[in-house]
């Protein structure tokens, strides 16, 4: 190795000069309520070839900071202070012409949502081609196929001729990675590149991205809300909170010894790092069981739900009256003990939500039985079904979509009481107030509308609504998946508290094994409509029997990071 190799990288940058340096960055948005400072005094340094992660919850300014670095702030946003130095050149107020030169060639981007970031009307190959062409690179069919193949898309020549809707989410993200890296940029901005994907796919994509960038010597600015993922993938982590950088440093150091209170909270609540079930509820339960051992045994045999050989077959239309059978759920059997939490985990398409829908009597099973309190639910008369619904309540994934925007919170929570003709106006209002207390929302929330609440608050409203009828079983279909980690931790704690106070039974549908670890007593792992593994959460996590379960567990970001016990 000669002296010049040490100090000068390929592109002629002195190795000790940062590739990207953000100094005192301030970003302001003009909104109808006046100016909002989205980012203040942000600092960030990325050396050539280095991976730096920005971690924070939604609204923390992490994406805004990254977008400013590639000159893609929304129309109402602007850099109102500080500098963005790319290789020593301040690009914070560079003319658009210069930014067009830099984009693609020098700074690439892999956006967040693979579903919405490819133009649906152009073939994948064309979207790669125009990138290559715009940056003055050869763009023949072979060049396009090469770019796609490098991003891990098999059969690239054929794939290039397909449209985005013919790709799965993981494949689309690979195509977007291919586009982002096609012109071998020196800096790649990856904005939550995998948060929309299943964990196992997430892992493959991140591994591939890591491999490609280290081979090309590309520096990566990784934006994520998941501290575990950041620590696992990045050399350095920058934590942002409410528009400010609150802490930064080498990943492991920051994780093991967080200084700022916010970082500490993040480390504590990161689902991927927590390794134990939330204990509040369990300790009480265990004590009670110890004192009343026979009663506990009796309770142990009390299966509130028994699912027996459940099948759901959908007919897939294949045109001209032909159809083929597709078994979304295929011979699933399990039991749910009263007062415990059973989690069904699996990737999208594994049939877990279909099971939930059938238990809720929203879909009819093709075959098999669902016993609720030893009664076959398929034999319920309409009036009995109505009573059944009172005892089994759902909480759905999307708190934005599952609350009626035209109903205020009082009406939302009161509605089930009214439908089931419970109490009079005064007693219903009292009940709603109690419910709001239970989910730790202020009474003043009653008069507000869903759009005035945050995601976490809305999910609390959804929980209050589910609790209104004093149900015995609550079915949570991805109930915390749409929430930020801190909010997610709060909601999980709330659910655990409610379980110990009210003796609720949860059936928890999720793709997130980290959440399972925190909340569940029993786990059912589903793959392609079949139940591949069941057992207690500890058993499944400590000694997974199936290869598929192992793959799922290995895919949890940060799973292998060693943390001091007091933090974990």
């Amino acid at each position: 190795m000669t002296a010049s190799d040490v100090t000068i990288t390929e592109a002629g940058t002195p190795a000790n000069r940062p590739l990207l340096e953000i100094r005192d960055l301030a970003i302001t948005f003009n909104t109808s309520n006046g100016e909002v400072n989205a980012v203040r005094n942000a600092h960030l340094t990325i050396m050539p070839g280095e991976t730096v992660a920005i971690v924070g919850e939604s609204g923390s300014g992490k994406s805004t900071t990254a977008l400013a670095a590639i000159g893609l702030l929304p129309a109402n946003g602007r850099v109102s202070g500080g500098q963005i130095l790319l290789d020593g050149e301040d690009i914070s107020d560079a003319p658009e012409k210069r930014m067009i030169e830099l984009r693609g060639n020098t700074i690439g981007m892999v956006p967040q949502d693979p579903m919405s970031n490819l133009n649906p009307v152009w073939k994948i190959g064309y979207q790669v081609k125009e990138t290559l062409r715009a940056n003055g690179r050869p763009s023949g069919p072979d060049d396009i196929a090469k770019v796609l193949a490098e991003a891990g898309l098999p059969d690239a020549h054929r794939r290039a001729k397909q449209y985005p809707h013919e790709f799965s989410g993981g494949m689309r993200q690979r195509a977007l990675i291919a586009i982002g890296l096609s012109c071998q940029p020196r800096l790649l901005i990856a904005d939550e590149p995998t948060s929309a994907l299943d964990v196992t796919v997430q892992r493959q994509i991140l591994d591939h991205l890591e491999g490609m960038t280290s081979e090309l010597g590309t520096a990566v600015l990784l934006i994520t809300h998941d501290l575990g993922l950041a620590a696992e993938r990045a050399d350095k982590v920058v934590v942002m909170y409410r528009g400010q950088v609150v802490e930064s440093g080498p990943s492991l150091e920051l994780l093991q010894n967080p200084q700022h209170p916010y970082t500490r909270r993040l480390v504590e609540s990161a689902p991927s790092l927590a390794s134990r079930r939330i204990q509040v509820a369990k300790e009480q339960g265990v004590e009670a069981a110890d004192l009343l051992a026979p009663a506990a045994e009796a309770r142990a045999a009390d299966n509130v739900l028994q699912i027996q050989d459940l099948r759901k077959v959908y007919k897939l239309r294949q045109g001209l009256g032909k159809s083929s059978d597709f078994a979304a759920v295929d011979g699933v059997s399990f039991e749910v003990l009263r007062g415990t939490t059973t989690a069904i985990v699996g990737e999208s398409g594994s049939g877990k939500s279909t099971v939930a829908k059938m238990v809720l009597q929203l879909e009819k099973p093709t075959d098999g039985k669902i016993l609720f309190d030893s009664v076959d639910t398929s034999l319920l008369k309409p009036s009995e079904l109505f009573k059944f619904r009172r005892r089994v309540q759902p909480i759905f994934q999307d708190p934005y979509g599952s609350l009626d925007p035209m109903y205020n919170i009082y009406r939302t929570i009161e509605e089930p009481l009214r439908v089931h003709k419970i109490g009079n106006k005064a007693s219903r209002e009292k009940k709603v107030r109690e419910l709001l207390d239970q989910v730790a929302l202020p009474q003043s929330t009653m008069q507000r509308y869903p759009n005035e609440l945050s995601g976490g608050q809305r999910q609390r409203v959804a929980i209050a609504r589910a609790l209104a009828l004093d149900p015995e079983v609550i079915i949570c279909d991805e109930a915390v998946s749409a929430l930020d980690v801190l909010v997610q931790a709060q909601v999980l704690n709330l659910l655990a508290d409610l379980q110990s106070n009210l003796g609720l039974t949860y059936l928890f549908i999720t793709h997130d094994l980290a959440v399972v670890r925190q909340i569940a007593d029993h786990v059912c792992v589903m793959e392609k409509g079949r139940l591949v593994e069941t057992g207690s959460t500890d058993d499944v996590f400590d000694a997974p029997q199936q290869e598929y379960t192992q793959a799922l567990l290995n895919a949890i970001p940060g799973a292998k990071l060693m943390l001091p016990p007091e933090v974990a």
Partner: protein
Amino acid sequence: MIQFIFRRLLQVIPVFLGTTLLVYFMVFALPGDPIRALFGDRPPSEAVIAALRQQYNLDQPFWVQYGLFLKNLFTFNLGVDFTGQPIAATLGRVFPVTVMLAVEALVIQAVFGIGFGLIAGLRKGKIFDSTVLLASLVVIAIPIFVLGFVLQLVFGVYLGWAKPTVGTDVSWSTLLLPAFALALVSFAYVLRLTRASVIENSTADYVRTATAKGLSRPRVVMAHILRNSMIPVVTYLGASLGGLMGGAIVTEGIFNVPGVGQKLYQAILRSEGPTVVAIVSVLVLVFVIANLLVDLLYAWLDPRIRYEK
């Protein structure tokens, strides 16, 4: 795809039978005797009337009349109208004129509507946008028979840039003014539709990604904003083609264009069943084919839409 087109063409048959039957019935149900109306104040002898009735099958019951019409239609014999001219020849004379008028109007509204809509959408909230929006609202609010006369008076009479009426001198240039009048109303809708669609697509994630790839602004606008914005606009344009063909009665009247609208109007006044039905039948065909073309164009613009087998 070919199966899809074939199936759509098969659908033409019931649509065609249904509409012709309906129109035939409505003409049949018109009050007054068409033969007597032909002669006005000097009624001919009963024998002449009876002969004419027989010639036009007016003495037959409705179903027989309709059946005879269909039979003639499939033997490509459209018959003669009350003035003794073959209906086929009349159609051959008036349809080209209206097609020219409609195509010219369609081009005008597409070019200006999409062009202005695109610029307005890209400059949302700026002066150009506000002006164009206001102007389009004015155009939508004023009925065509007022707009038509104003255009005729200003450009045809005062400024003398165009001939105020078309008459027998039918050409692309003489039809320009009526085509413009005809295009105006749909033009305002095309503009607003394009504008709304452009505004929506401008903030799409894939547009941001396209910019992040290093594409120049014109390329982002043309390939990613405009192309995606065309999907609803094309549907509207296709549907409006039928309207332009059949709905030109007022415009053709104002500018004295010897087209379908004028002929149809005269035929209705005279309760000339066969002529009315013949014209409407062709219009139905135009509608159906225009809609088929829109569907095909739609699939080309949006590959997510595929017409299955």
